[in-house]
Amino acid sequence: MPGDNVSTDKPKDLKASVQKFASDLAAKVENFVTDISELEVRTYTITDGQFATVLDDPNKKNDKTLSGAGVQLRAYTRIAFDSDTIVCLPVNNSGQIDGAVWDMHQAAVNQALQSRAAMLRTIGDAAASALDALKKSR
């Protein structure tokens, strides 16, 4: 457990920990800005009882899109930084848009967009606060 050896057992340095905390957050903001050049949202349906089999399949851990027995990609949206958007719509067997899946997918896209904006803002604030505290401590 972190902190168990807080007294004298390990030669750790709290100041170093604080510095690392601040610099990690700052690096995270930088990576975040680089990595959010596009946002991808995928909506799947999955066979009952197959969650663990599909999600933790070691053979598919690097696959961007999961496929195979028990899982089916039903809708996909990719939004690029310049707002170029690709949307793959879910259709049923008769070629009609599957309203239920489409509603779920749209809700997820909205959540993802709002979440990413909030995360970027909040991590940026935390990094700025930590760096400011560090500056004062010098």
Binding site: M1, L14, A133
Partner: protein, 280 residues
């Protein structure tokens, strides 16, 4: 009575309590659906009452965020009362005069903060202790506290700081799984990558209400992640304020005030939540 469980797992410091009081550690036999990443699970007895339970937790998180702001304001107000006291330099030591009126709110928390500041200040002057502090800042300092209660208080604060840092680190590097379990069956799982990509897995043929339960659960998870990161920001800002006041501390010792800030902020939030519970 129906059992509603809101658990989070996968954190290296899983026993660290959620400062917002929304999520708890899972029981030992409770396993996440997916082993990868962090898991935030809402386990609900039925879909009808499940939505109300999630919305109630969302309100609880909102109150927790208000407590965070209040704790931040209390820390800022307390800092206004922290003053170096040159009168106490006779024995070569510096200390702080720190007014804490007896009838003031959060007296125990402010008293604990005063004890920590006094402990740091006492470390400030004697050359032998300064040398020790500069040599091994983090682990020399807690043992150098004159009072046992100060030492223990700092150790606890330090432990919370490490656990919190680990939580923030994992939050910003691991994916989060939002699981919705109804009557023991997973109906929806959303995997949120740290950079914001979403993957949602649904059982086919779910009712509109079931879909709404999962959607609201995902909202709760997203809001919880943001709230923890906001807490990091408030704690760092509060520590910055403490550092600004603690200018007489030896070089490097100011960083020790971050655990003092986290302890104060979380203790005030706990006190507010306890007070709210007594009002029900």
């Amino acid at each position: 009575m129906a059992d509603y469980r809101f658990t989070f797992s996968g954190f290296a410091a899983a026993e660290a309590p959620d400062p917002f009081g929304v999520w708890e550690a899972p029981a030992p036999d409770e396993k996440a659906v997916s082993a990868a990443g962090l898991t935030w699970r809402a386990a609900l007895p039925d879909v009808d009452s499940g939505l109300d339970a999630i919305l109630a937790r969302t309100k609880s998180l909102e109150r927790g965020e208000a407590y965070l702001l209040q704790a931040d304001a209390e820390l800022r107000a307390t800092l206004e009362t922290v003053m170096p006291a040159p009168v106490d330099r006779v024995a070569g030591t510096a200390s702080y005069a720190f007014s804490v009126p007896a009838a003031e709110n959060f007296h125990p928390q402010k008293q604990a903060l005063r004890d920590t500041l006094s402990g740091f200040a006492a470390l400030g002057a004697p050359p032998r202790q300064v040398a020790a502090l500069e040599g091994a800042v983090a682990f020399g300092a807690p043992d150098a506290f004159a009072e046992e209660k100060e030492r223990k208080g700092f150790q606890e604060a330090y432990r919370r700081w490490l656990a919190f840092v680990e939580q923030v680190k994992q939050l910003t590097s691991s994916s989060s799984n939002a699981e919705t379990i109804i009557a023991g069956e997973c109906i929806g799982l959303t995997r949120i990558a740290w950079d914001g990509d979403f993957e949602t897995f649904w059982l086919p043929g779910l009712s509109a209400l079931s879909r709404e339960v999962h959607r609201q659960n995902v909202n709760l998870v997203l809001a919880s992640r943001i709230a923890l990161l906001r807490a990091a920001s408030v704690i760092a800002t509060g520590a910055g304020g403490l550092i600004f006041k603690a200018v007489v501390l030896p070089p490097g010792a100011q960083a020790l005030l971050l655990p003092a800030a986290i302890r104060f902020i979380f203790d005030v939030m706990d006190a507010l939540r306890d007070w709210e519970a007594t009002q029900r």
